[in-house]
């Protein structure tokens, strides 16, 4: 098994993601983020790079925040820190109004209609949206 940095291992395990699953891919740290790429990803000299692979998580004041697209990508492997919400709750958190949930403080995976839609933040029994703007807009327009 590749040696992942302890902090990313902890993040994956906290969501119940089996580390063996990651073996077929590659995770690396760049700046304040971890990125998931295919194994042996190559880059040619001379190209101006915007990004590579999928951003897994970024460092925040509260610790490592998983990205919504990463949580979607690993949806089938996530078994912990899942918060179920209904349509009205989804629309509410997207609008900026948190909803009350019985959950531990920290980042969580938001599940709606059986699908992991992205990242939320639990704080003092309330869930806040951490969905990127473009995803939040798409979901709010289309979750009906």
């Amino acid at each position: 098994m590749q040696s992942l940095e302890k902090e990313i291992e902890e993040l994956l395990l906290s969501f119940g993601i089996n580390l063996a699953i990651i073996e077929k891919w590659h995770i690396e740290k760049a700046g304040n983020s971890f990125w998931l790429t295919s194994k042996g990803l190559k880059i040619c000299e001379g190209f101006n790079m915007q990004c590579k692979g999928l951003r897994v998580a970024e460092k925040t004041k509260l610790g490592w925040k998983p990205t919504s697209y990463f949580l979607q990508f690993f949806a089938t492997y996530i078994t912990k820190k899942i918060v179920e919400i209904n349509k009205n709750e989804l629309l509410s958190i997207i609008k900026g109004t948190p909803v009350e949930k019985n959950c531990e403080n920290g980042y969580v995976a938001i599940r709606f209609k059986g699908h992991i839609v992205g990242c939320g933040l639990c704080k003092n029994g309330k869930v806040y949206s951490q969905l990127p703007k473009e995803l939040a807009i798409a979901l709010s327009e289309n979750c009906r």
Partner: protein, 298 residues
């Protein structure tokens, strides 16, 4: 009517009446399954629950056709990256390129990412795709689509590909060239002015020349556009063949199409160009496309 119209192609498009009829008709709505995020059968079931009409597409089991009133881009399943909304004709070029797993691929003009994400699916998220585009404003949609679909084998770059200084680097190169987009005309027959077409033709030749330069010897390069203009299609390929940089190979596809043109007006392109294909809107009730497959000489 001033300027050129589709009538300039009356002698080269076998069923010109069908073409005119097709540009006045709504195109089929097609989507492409994203295997990185969901199983095909699961998606098919969800699509049937969500949309009134869902049909499988015989020649490509990654694609589905929906009813013409559907808006699949405005759907929850789309936001989750389970599919990509893409014209059927646009799905052909990546299949012709057919990159193998773990290969090194360049998508030279990649935004907004339809063909890039399809290449990623064909490669089962392995190897590397350099998804390049010159236009920085278009990178946003490219990055967004690559992220939404979970394409972890994609590196997004922003270069004017003409200025790249590398050589003999890639296993496969896709050049979906900037073009006059005549294949996407809807309810109009007026074409872009000739000076714009001439300018694009020069750009297309320069890009294809570079595509061949940076491909490995013996590797595959696919050139495609969504326009009818022979100057932007057969003319560009003939220019490269004349320089003996690559040879043209037959495009073998199981959908209705026409062969590439040997000549247009006074321009002779040669019999080899029959190995390229032209897809007209009436073939699939989709956009138009031109596709040529080249192999770089050793």
């Amino acid at each position: 009517m001033e300027g050129e119209t589709l009538l300039r192609y009356k002698d080269i498009i076998p069923d010109f009446d069908a073409l005119i009829a097709s540009i006045n008709r709504p195109r089929d709505i097609t989507i492409r399954w994203n295997p990185h995020k969901i199983e095909r059968n699961q998606l098919f079931a969800m699509l049937r629950e969500t949309f009134n009409e869902v049909h499988e597409i015989g020649w490509y089991n990654h694609a589905f056709k929906l009813g013409q009133n559907e808006r699949p881009g405005k759907n929850f399943l789309h936001a989750l990256g389970y599919y990509y909304v893409q014209e059927e004709s646009a799905m052909v070029a990546p299949i012709v390129l057919a990159p193998s797993k773990n290969s090194f691929v360049l998508d030279m003009c990649a935004a907004p990412g339809g063909k890039t994400t399809q290449l990623s699916a064909l490669m089962e998220n392995s190897g590397t795709i350099i998804a390049n585009d010159k236009a920085i404003p278009r990178l946003k949609s490219l990055v967004s689509n690559v992220s939404r679909l979970g394409c972890i084998n994609v590196v997004v770059t922003w270069n004017d590909a003409r200025n790249l200084s590398i050589k003999d680097c890639f296993d496969y190169v896709l050049l979906d060239a900037p073009c006059t987009a005549e294949g996407n005309l809807f309810k109009k027959i007026k074409l872009m002015p000739k000076f714009m077409r001439d300018s694009l033709t020069n750009l297309q030749k320069a890009l294809l020349h570079k595509a061949i330069e940076i491909a490995k010897p013996g590797s595959t390069i696919v050139y495609c556009t969504c326009t009818f203009a022979p100057e932007e299609n057969e003319g560009v390929i003939a220019n490269i063949l004349a320089k003996n940089l690559a040879k043209i190979e037959p495009v073998r596809i199981k959908i209705p199409h026409e062969k590439g043109l040997e000549y247009f007006g006074k321009n002779e392109y040669g019999g080899e160009l029959k190995k390229a294909v032209r897809i007209y809107p009436y073939h699939l009730n989709s956009g138009g496309a031109f596709i040529a497959k080249l192999r770089k000489r050793d």
